[in-house]
Symmetry: C2
Subunit: 202 residues, 2 copies
């Protein structure tokens, strides 16, 4: 694609480096910014740069934070005896939005993936293991996506966590999602949802 | 959606103002930038701000340009007797990519749309009409998308352009696109493609 201006070519080039944004979408975004007020672009550029350069991570749970300790870890009202282990900050936001969880988190920063060269030492696993002794932690919930890499990570973690006596390990429930149709569910999910069936309380 | 950091909330807010980007995509983009090198964000923010604040428009054809006259208008080898009128800079790029057009352009900056409050005076129509007298222009091609607003704009323009004697007005060919199946074409397109059929050269 040839551009009538070097400036727009650079902007399109940088925008199309973002995931899921190709050259055509990037051009549409660039032309949108050109049509909008200059303020729109200025505040977008500033917000991005500010986020990248000023963001800090919670020293306890490795989630994004504006301070040394994130608002969840600093909250005395939350249940600090339950830690939910997730791979990504997005998962923290997703679980927080359910308003069903009152414990704290631990963000691994990814999953073990030999293909992409991510080993246990690239994740915050050591930090998680160091968090448990001399703490009030009684349960670790493994809330990792059930992919090949996710299951490997969960298996590795449960092996490591077994050494801590008095700490329960659990995983999030697998089964048919709400509104899901039985006949369209894959066999493994359907099979597990029968094995792990829950008795109704009368 | 609740965010663990004001910085990320601002960045997501600004990103989701872009067309076609919702909160979830914006969050994915923001987290991508956080994971990538700081350089990525710095050069993206700089490219966007530079584009918005330093870009100029060609004084002749109103396309994007790095100088007072764009590279197409300044090119002596192009056919300055043919002007292709388009609504948007994107159309210039699209036509240039076909490598089938050797004339010059005129970018209207939109189409007449009473619903969105865009009248003829909001477009560069006066500038187009002022370009024609005392120039070598012999043909004006109306290459405007065949939507309701586009057709209104084309009709308005052809009424105005009729006053100039010796200037031909043409529109881009309508018909079945390459690779298109006859049976799936809409009736208006198919009807026009028969009315405007082209005799083969033996």
């Amino acid at each position: 694609m040839e551009f009538p201006s070097k400036l727009i070519e650079n902007a399109v080039g940088e925008l199309s480096k973002l995931p899921g944004i190709g050259k055509k979408t990037a051009l549409r975004l660039a032309l949108h910014l050109l049509k909008a007020e200059t303020d729109t672009t200025a505040s977008l550029a500033e917000a991005l740069a500010k986020m990248r350069f000023e963001i800090t991570y919670c020293q306890t749970c490795h989630s994004i934070s504006d301070a040394e300790e994130c608002s969840i870890c600093a909250n005395k009202l939350r249940d600090h005896s339950t830690v939910c282990v997730v791979s990504d900050i997005r998962d923290v936001i997703a679980i927080e939005n359910t308003a069903q969880y009152q414990g704290v988190y631990h963000v691994l920063g990814g999953v073990i993936s030999p293909i992409e060269g991510v080993g246990p030492s690239d994740l915050t696993i050591d930090s998680l293991l160091a968090r448990i002794p001399d703490s009030e932690i009684k349960e670790v919930i493994l809330a990792i996506s059930p992919t090949m890499e996710g299951d490997t990570t969960a298996f590795y973690l449960s092996r490591k966590l077994r050494d801590f006596e008095g700490v329960h390990i659990s995983t999030i429930a697998r089964g048919i999602p709400m509104g899901g149709e039985l006949e369209y569910a894959d066999e493994i999910t359907l099979g597990r949802s029968i094995v792990d069936r829950q008795r109704q309380v009368r």
